[in-house]
Every structure is written in C-alpha cells, then in structure tokens.
C-alpha cells in the first residue's frame, strides 16, 4: 500500500506536464474532491458519524479567508488557517450538540444539514459579505495573495493538501485515536464499557475533519475568485463531499481518492454532455444511480471490495 501511494504521488507530480488545460482543470477537481473526501472520511468514515452538512465548513473557511483579506489585507495564506480554525470551532459546536445529546444515525445527519442550511440563509442575508449575490474577489495573479496566472499552481496546491490529509489519516489510523474511532463506528456502548471516552474522540474527529475541510474554503474562493452562499453552503456540495469516500470505501485510506478518480471525471463528462439544453442536473442522476449500485453490490465501497478480491485471488 505504501509503495502504491509513493508511486501514485510520483505520477501525480509529473502529470501536469502532459495535460491540456481542460484535463488539468479536471485533474485539479479530482485532487480537490479527494482532499475534501479524505477530510470527511475522518469523522464520517473512520468514526462512522455521518455529517451530511460538511459544505458549511468550506463556506466558513472560504468566507473567512476572503473577507479577512478584503477588510484587513490579511494574506489568504494565513486567512486559510483562520478559516480552518473557525470551521473547527463550528465543528466542535455541532459535534458537541449532536454527541452530547446522543443524536445518532439519521438524527445526526439532520442536525448537520440543518446547521449548514441555517448558515447558508444567514450568509445569504448578510449584505456586508455580499448577501445572496455572493462575495467577489479581484483577480490579482499575485501568488502572495493566493492568486495564480498558471492553473498548475492550483494543481500542486490541491495535491499538497491531499498528500497532507492522507498522511494525517494514515497517522490517525495507526494510533490509538484511530483504532478507537473504528470501534466507535461499530458499537459506542461497548466502547464506553471498555474505557473509551466516546464523546471526546468523536469531537476530536469532528474538529480535525472540519478544520481540514475549512482549509479547502480559501482554495475554492480564490480559485474561482468568488463565493456564493448557495454553492459553498448548499446541500449539493455536501453531497459531492460525501459521495466519493462512500463509493470508494468509507473508513479506508484510499477510499476517497479512488472515489474521486471514478466520480469526478464521470461528473465532468456528464456535465459536458448534458450541460446544454436544460439537462444540467444530469450528473446528479448519475450519482444517484451509482450510489444505488454501490449500496447494492459493493456496500463497503470499491477499495474494500478490491482488497477482498485480491486476497481471494492470492489465497
């Protein structure tokens, strides 16, 4: 597995040299959504706490970095981490409310969606940050202001984010923290009886996950030079974040990456094919069909299914 990771990173490092602009844009999305999936995976996959409102952390992170830059001149390179910290704080609040009061399964899903929706509505009505029209960032092309003439810069930033998040997930997996999370996913009552402070570890997972997701906000804001509340706080983005690790294999290191390699190009192709003539929601239908197929045929996700297949071959 480790060699596979090193090899994949090496390929990813040289890839932009051979990609055209359109392929590069898709590759950036593959990496960026793999990163978001990896961040979600910490709480949604390993710990099994299905946050369905993770877009809220992208929104908080993005608006924080962009508004701070506009109002105080703070470079988004730092604003990104301020946004991550605020996202982690919000994740702590949502997590505490959900975990402290024992909201499990669907109830936790509803809580996370509700928080994201409330934030979307608040920001939509907050004129100071652009309201429903959104917040626009002047393109400078200055790397010190997180702005680039060359899209390959975004590619390498997304790659770096993904490598770091995967490294964090790998470290979590090996430690007591990660081992506890996988047990929490299975049975919280048994965990408590065995000395595991489930509230604490679920909260830690939620905050780490929302911090990493918050970092992605600045990336999103400055790559597109704009933020719209419906786009960055909305349910569709939350679905985009969740679906890749679930298809690839929730709670596995490679799951979010494999999921993004499958779904991002599919989504793009479907947008390109059906983008005109009132068919622009077609990729969502495709996601729905794929999700049903995964749940029916490979409920653990593609990565565990492949692993079992290889194991049986070699046995």
């Amino acid at each position: 597995m480790r060699w596979l990771g090193v090899a994949a990173t090496a390929v990813a490092l040289v890839l932009p040299a051979v990609l055209g602009p359109y392929a590069l844009a898709i590759a950036i999305n593959v990496l960026f959504f793999a990163y978001l999936g990896q961040a979600w995976n910490l709480v949604g996959g390993y710990a099994g706490q299905l946050s369905a409102g993770h877009a809220v952390f992208v929104g908080v992170g993005g608006y924080t970095a962009a508004v701070l830059a506009a109002e105080t001149g703070l470079t988004p390179w730092i604003g990104m981490f301020v946004g991550g910290a605020l996202a982690a704080a919000l994740g702590g609040v949502i997590g505490y409310l959900g975990f402290r009061f024992g909201l499990r399964g669907f109830y936790f899903v509803l809580l996370t969606v509700a928080f994201a929706e409330v934030c979307r509505i608040v920001v939509s009505n907050w004129e100071r940050v652009g309201g429903a029209v959104g917040f626009y960032i002047t393109f400078t092309g200055d790397p010190r202001r997180l702005s680039f003439q060359d899209d390959r810069a975004w590619y390498y930033i997304a790659l770096a984010l993904l490598v770091v998040a995967t490294g964090i997930a790998a470290a979590v997996e090996r430690r007591r923290f990660g081992i506890y999370l996988t047990a929490i996913r299975e049975d919280e009552t048994a965990c408590e009886a065995l000395g595991v402070d489930t509230l604490r570890y679920k909260l830690l997972a939620m905050m780490l996950s929302s911090f990493l997701t918050g970092l992605a906000g600045a990336f999103y804001a400055y790559r597109y030079s704009s933020l719209q509340p419906n786009a960055v706080f909305g349910v569709p983005l939350s679905v985009e974040i969740i679906i890749r690790p679930i298809v690839g294999g929730a709670g596995t290191l490679a799951g979010p990456i494999v999921g993004s390699l499958i779904l991002t190009p599919l989504g793009e192709a479907s947008r390109a094919l059906f983008g005109q003539g009132g068919w622009h929601g077609a990729h969502l239908i495709l996601y729905g069909v794929l999700l049903v197929a995964v749940v029916l045929f490979v409920p653990q996700g593609v990565v565990p299914w492949l692993r079992d297949l290889l194991r049986r071959r070699s046995a």
Partner: protein, 238 residues
C-alpha cells in the same frame, strides 16, 4: 475498604420499580453472585453500578470513591469493567482488535496494547482466532471474547453478566476455571448467573434479588436452603 459498596440504590422505569432500596458490598478480591428470577433487576443493578444508568436514589462507592455522575468510561479507567449479557462484539473488527480496544486504556501505544491483547486471548483460548472478524465467532467464543475484552482493561472489579448462559458443560467448565484464575490474581468479581453449578462453585457469597429487592444474602449453601429464595424461584405453591 471494599471494592464495591452499594447503599440504598433505587431505580424506577415508568411504573416499574426495577431496583428498590438495595444495599450490598463486594470485598477486595471477593467473588459475589447476584442471582434472582428473570426480571428481578439484576442487569439494571449492573447498569447502575457501571455508570450506564443514573440511579433515582442511593449511592455506589467504588474503592472508597463515590461514583455518582461518573461516566462508564471513567469508571472503567478507575478499574471497574463489565460484560454485557447481550454480547456486543465489534463485529467487523478482528478478534485481536476487539481486545485491543480494552487494552488501549492502560497501554496507549498500539503495539503494547496488541501484545497485551494477545496475552489475554491466549488465556481465554481464542489465540487461534485472533485474525478473524469478531462477527464470525460462535456463541461460546463470543462469550469468551466479551470476557477477554473486559479483562484487557485490567479491572480491580469485574462485573460478569451471564457469561455462561447457553454454553455446554465443557464450555462452562472452561469459563469457571478462567474466572477462578482471574480472581486468584486479586480481581474482585460480581457475577449474574443462572447456571447454579457455576454460582455454587465460584461464589463466596450470594445476594438474591426478587422484584428489585434483596431478599436474602449469605453463603451459597445457606442461601440455597433459604425458604424465601425457594419461594421466589418457584412461586407460592412450592
């Protein structure tokens, strides 16, 4: 100082008084059995003692320390472990991982926790199954896994909720020997058990519950002859 002291414990669920003014103690290193007919409130007592259920009244003192408000994981850290009558294996995790979850509280380094877990699996005779997912174990093996996980937390007091029910004679004998060995190392044990052979051979003292109340307490041979106990088990006509 006793390992466990229960005074005036009470718990009501709606119209049902599950436990009523219950008092008993478990001495350091002692084996006490909690018996009584189905529905007598035994498992509720375990829930109250291990921090899963808040009592309406009464006090639980664990090694001289009042436990009110402590959560189950905190009580476990202090040295109180329990098993569940309805076993709760982490089904998709391997057997050794299951036991590691218990061991990690005392050994934060996963490698140390794993070697501790393997030692416990050796003791309960599950070493050969270490790599299997816990969901694939038989009933008797799951009972032993439940016990192994609790043992891995290195308890001072171990609460065993029917770890022998549903086992055949040979399997029961294995668990009896295991419990005896654990106790010989100084762990106090409070056990709920319907298998009378096990109760009689293990317990130094028996507490009998009926409708949430203690109706008898004493040495096994004395309790077994107590008319109130016989009545509770067999009804008025006996």
């Amino acid at each position: 100082m006793s390992a466990l002291e229960v005074r005036g414990l009470a718990k009501r669920f709606g119209g049902l008084q599950a436990v009523k003014d219950l008092s008993f103690t478990v001495g350091e290193g002692e084996i006490v059995a909690l018996i009584g007919p189905n529905g007598a409130g035994k498992t509720t007592v375990f829930g109250l003692v291990s921090g899963f259920i808040e009592p309406d009244a009464g006090e639980v003192t664990f090694r001289g320390r009042a436990t009110r408000g402590l959560k189950p994981h905190a009580l476990n850290a202090l040295g109180l472990a329990r098993t569940f009558q309805i076993m709760r294996p982490f089904a998709r995790l391997s057997v050794v991982r299951n036991v590691m979850i218990g061991a990690l509280g005392r050994h934060a380094d996963p490698r140390a926790a794993e070697s501790r877990a393997r030692a416990v699996l050796d003791e309960v005779g599950l070493a050969a199954k270490a790599a299997q997912p816990a969901g694939s174990l038989t009933l008797a093996e799951r009972k032993r896994l439940e016990l192994a996980r609790a043992l891995a937390t290195e308890p001072v007091l171990l609460l065993l909720d029917e770890v022998m029910s549903g086992l055949n004679d040979r399997e029961t004998e294995v668990i009896i020997e295991l419990v005896r060995a654990v106790n010989a190392r100084g762990t106090a044990i409070l056990l709920i058990e319907h298998v009378m052979r096990a109760v009689m051979s293990l317990a130094g003292r028996i507490v009998v519950l009926s409708y949430g109340e203690r109706i008898a307490e004493g040495r096994p041979d004395v309790v077994a002859r107590d008319p109130r106990v016989i009545e509770a088990y067999l009804g008025d006509e006996a």
